[in-house]
Amino acid sequence: MRPFDYETPQDAAQAVALSEAAAQSHVGSPVQYIGGGTTLLDLMKLGVMRPERVVAIDGIGGDSLNAVKKTDQGLHIGALVSMAELADNGMIERDYPVLRDALWKAASPQIRNMARLGGNVLQRTRCPYFRDTTYDQCNKRVPGSGCAALDGFNRLHAVLGTSGSCIATYAGDWAQALVALDASVSVLGPDGPRVLPFSGLHRLPSDAPHIETTLKPGELITGFTIPDGPWPRSTYVKVRDRESYAFANASAAVALEMEGDIATDVRIALGGLATVPWRASKAEAQLRGRPLGEAAMEAAAEAEFADAVTHEHNAFKVPLGKATLVRALTEAKAMEI
């Protein structure tokens, strides 16, 4: 690991002031925030990220970054709330089970205790060629160098939202819940605060997979807002090879509003399958306002995966993704609320 400066600002404004730097992207900036450090420190040890300055935000106090509360705009969740803290929140468990399920099925208790939600949504891909600097080809790590995953081992790579430059999966879980619930993200930057839709945070890889988000260098995520709700009929199904402590082969965040058999509102996001947290809009459009039976679910899943692109080892993700979507809808529908 390279030596770096370590700053411990007292408040968000100071943190942002310390983080100004000229850079091509937020993630490529020589100044990086550190929350729990569970993504950043790994990548620094691996030599994949080499920030010159690390700005510790975990000690910053104040409600906007640390609280979980219902406001006029909706449910506000501070960016410094830890994964464990939100998963343990009784109100969340009752009113937003999808937010909770997506957290407690992620990582391990130790990691959930350390990791903050701001860092969580910005966690980086587990693509093995990205994480190992001895591979020459990785467009995300070294722009323009190629993509070893295309002809390498790609069982865990994405089938949705890929490009010829990068097929890396967005590995996180919680972001799917946010994108399904139409969350927005609040940001503080050198130019002041702004709010953007969560669905606009992550960028598709297209021809610049090294630019992962629409955040500007030095911008600090301060919190998330979920506009309406509650969503008691919501769940997160995570399908993985191992029962715990594994990334998703496929996952689905689902929130439903039902009147009798009719799904009056349907929210679906898919994980483990796409390069970004993937809102399944096509499937939603097919299901909204219709009776929610297994055949309809299957047809919706079919539509969502119509444009899927597979590689040598990940073709199974198409049938698996469809099955996961159907299963999550089925389980949400069957919830007793």
Binding site: K45, T134, G152, L320, A323
Partner: protein, 731 residues
């Protein structure tokens, strides 16, 4: 809250006391010092830098930036590496697991080979410097595995059996089966990382390194360093998991010790988790073709098992597990053979039940398929073909309680509730399947020596350079000595894992209890002789010592299994496996087990979960049913991992390991581990050795993978003939 600890097993017939683990308190309070914890004065930190290609050569290494960093002591490459003597592969009578010496030249023969060593004041500096090396390679296309262009096939004689006339019998059998199976590359991933610390004092060298065979490490290190073995000590009283990966010396030890000599300073090295995938051994991928012929009454008439294994270009490591499969069931016509495929890989090596895990998986899967073809219950099919003699030589088994294991496990599991029809059992969205398989492991033994010290206070010390890799060897040695001396186990201390102690066996092949235990027993017998046959009671001890005119009794004994050559003990002192010999056919000595599992497969997403497993095992005398239960439990849990999770993924184009970390190399975690019911079937075998012990460390992970794959078939109607059985194969 319910007490989460399982009940202490009640000792059954021919079992010792269920004593708690000797070092339990020390371990749970964090007291033991593992190799890398051992204090050394002012050590420097060495970090390996490994190759990013699997084949080719280094065209240049620019070390200037790295070497110039403050805190960097020296950067070693093939251009300035300290010289060492070549070591031969252990299967050729040498000491090492991989004969390629690192930093000996610019050539790269496998992924992750050591290309530089950065030595610095601390790890952070070393790591920073490592990333500043500029290495250029001339890469060539490597051959990765089976079917890769450029991989060479080679027939070997090991594992060859030819009994009767297989072709004729198979050709005329009324029911036949011809199937192929595959097992993947696997890595041990012991919790404790590989490490070496070396400190010279003049000509004397002390090495701290987790090892399953310290006397081998001592002798091997001396050979490569060109020093007298008497001047090399290896000390590591505790090993944090090994599973075979620390069984045979690797080239790292000599390199680190040579660097310490060059720098005139103690040097410590820890192999990073990913580096362990290429700098230690692994279980190579295997392929199998099994052909079976049977009468319609279920009697096997023909069996052929052809195995193929991957190894490196440099060494012919093999496991040749057909020797076990040929002995398993009564069958008059047997033909087996093994071939190797040499690829551009590091050399594989021992991993828990090396031959049996892949080969018995194949055989026991085929047995299930054949039982189904015959319309015979899988347990009954094994009963019909059970044998008490070797199908290859006719020699008897010293004892074989396989069917007793089946009967006890089947009844406890509730096998009779199984509807034999595949896809016939379900609950909600989960399909249910039951499966079973045979577990076996040969009773291995090797020479051992031990020393016992007894004091007038009635305290004893057991001194033997055997090893406790987490198995309970300390406890069992304490118990054997307590039984032999007739004193309280609490009055006995045990010292192991140190070459200043008399050499014990390698901690491998499930032979520590039988071999080290026999040496301890022999030394205790000598102590008893000093008192005319019985050690006096504690209260009379000091009087008895006075009578002998002594205040310390010390006895040393050597033990070798029957049939060992004359030089067996000498070979042991040289750190060789030694032993062996004797006339064929010997009686067959094996531990057996029967394993039953229930699996559940999700109707839509095809995740596979295992809610319960039952294993019954018979392995002669069980010295300590508590530590034995842990071994059986751990083995079956590992077997579950082998069935469903474990696989080192290969980049087929680049011949590199992909998931070289414990986030992505999946081993079972608590949530995967079901209810595991362990049954110890009493068995008395006075022929195997005077302790009556067969060894239990490896038998229980042998049957699990087949049992689970068989249960997945029963649940889903799909035969997956390639481990691990994962959801993608069932979609």
């Amino acid at each position: 809250m319910a007490d989460p600890t399982p009940p202490v097993p009640e000792p059954g017939t021919n079992m010792g006391k269920a004593l708690p683990r000797y070092e339990a308190r020390a371990k749970v309070t964090g007291a033991p010092l593992y190799a890398d914890d051992m204090p050394l004065p002012n050590p420097a930190t060495a970090l390996f830098v490994t190759s990013g290609i699997a084949k080719g050569s280094i065209t240049s290494i620019d070390t200037s930036e790295a070497a110039g960093l403050p805190g960097v002591l020296k950067v070693y490459t093939h251009e300035n590496a300290p010289s060492r003597q070549d070591l031969r592969h252990f299967m050729k009578g040498g000491y090492v697991a991989d004969s390629v010496m690192p930093l000996a030249g610019p050539n790269i023969v496998n992924d992750g080979e050591i290309v530089a060593v950065v030595v610095a004041e601390d790890l952070a500096t070393a790591r920073d410097a490592a990333h500043r090396l500029k290495i250029s390679y001339q890469a060539e296309q490597p051959a990765t595995t089976f079917g890769s262009a450029g991989a060479e096939e080679k027939q070997i004689t090991a594992g060859k059996h030819d009994v009767g006339d297989f072709d004729a019998a198979y050709g005329s059998a009324p029911v036949t089966l011809d199937v192929e199976y595959e097992t993947p590359t696997m890595h041990h991933n012991p919790m404790e990382l590989f490490s070496t610390a070396a400190a010279w004092d003049g000509d004397n060298l002390v090495i701290h390194e987790p090892s399953q065979f310290v006397w081998q490490l001592k002798n091997g290190a001396a050979e490569t360093l060109g020093v007298d073995a008497a001047k090399v000590e290896v000390k590591n009283p505790f090993v944090g998991g090994a599973f075979g990966s620390k069984g045979i010396m690797t080239q790292r030890t000599g390199l680190i010790a040579a660097i310490a000599r060059d720098l005139r300073r103690p040097v410590k090295n820890v192999v990073m988790r990913d580096q362990g995938y290429t700098l230690a051994t692994y279980r190579a991928e295997t392929r199998h073709r099994i052909r079976m012929g049977a009468e319609s009454n279920g009697k096997l008439v023909a069996l052929s098992h052809e195995g193929s294994e991957v190894t490196s270009r440099q060494d012919d490591y093999f496991v040749a597990g057909t020797t076990a499969t040929a002995e398993m069931y009564a069958c008059p016509n047997i033909r087996t053979g093994v071939s190797l495929v040499k690829a551009d890989r590091n050399t594989p090596g021992f991993m828990r039940s090396p031959p049996e895990t892949p080969y018995m998986y194949a055989l026991e899967s085929a047995m299930d398929e054949m039982a189904e073809k015959l319309g015979i219950d899988p347990v009954e099919f094994r009963r019909i073909n059970d044998t008490q003699t070797s199908p290859t030589t006719g020699a008897p088994y010293t004892s074989r309680s396989l069917m007793e294991c089946y009967d006890e496990a089947a009844s406890s599991f509730g096998w009779s509730k199984r509807n034999p029809q595949p896809m016939s059992m379900a609950q909600d969205d989960w399909l249910i399947g039951y499966g079973c398989a045979t577990a076996c492991y040969p009773t291995n033994m090797m020479p051992a020596t031990a020393r016992i010290v007894l004091t007038p206070e009635g305290r004893a010390e057991v001194l033997i350079a055997a090893h406790d890799v987490g198995t309970g060897a300390y406890t069992v040695m304490q118990q054997i000595a307590a039984d032999e001396l007739g004193i309280d186990p609490a009055a006995i201390t045990v010292r192991m894992g140190d070459t200043t102690l008399p050499p014990g066996p390698v901690s491998g092949g499930s032979m520590t209890t039988a071999s080290a235990g026999s040496a301890v027993k022999a030394a205790c017998e000598k102590v008893r002789q000093r008192f005319g046959g019985t050690v006096p009671a504690v209260d009379d001890m000091s009087a008895a010592f006075r009578k002998l005119g002594s205040n310390r009794i010390e006895e040393y004994a050597e033990w070798a299994p029957p049939g060992s050559g004359e030089d067996a003990i000498k070979a042991l002192y040289k750190g060789k496996f030694g032993g062996g010999g004797g006339d064929e056919p010997k009686p067959l000595m094996y531990a057996f087990g029967a394993e039953f599992v229930e699996v559940r497969v999700h109707r839509l997403t095809r995740e596979i979960r295992v809610p319960r497993m039952t294993g019954a095992f018979a392995a002669g005398r069980i010295v300590n049913p508590r530590t034995a239960r842990s071994q059986y439990l751990g083995g079956m849990i590992w077997g579950l991992g082998q069935a469903l999770l474990e696989k080192t993924e290969l980049d087929l184009l680049r011949a590199r390991y992909i998931n070289d970390n414990i986030a992505e190399y999946l081993v079972a975690v608590n949530a995967d581990v079901p209810e595991v019911d362990i049954i110890m079937v009493p068995e008395v075998d006075n022929q195997v050795n005077s302790l009556g012990v067969k060894g239990i460390g490896e038998v229980s992970n042998v049957g699990t993978a087949a049992a689970i794959a068989n249960a997945v078939y029963h649940a889903t109607g799909r035969r997956i003939r390639e481990l691990p059985v994962t959801m993608d194969k069932l979609l």
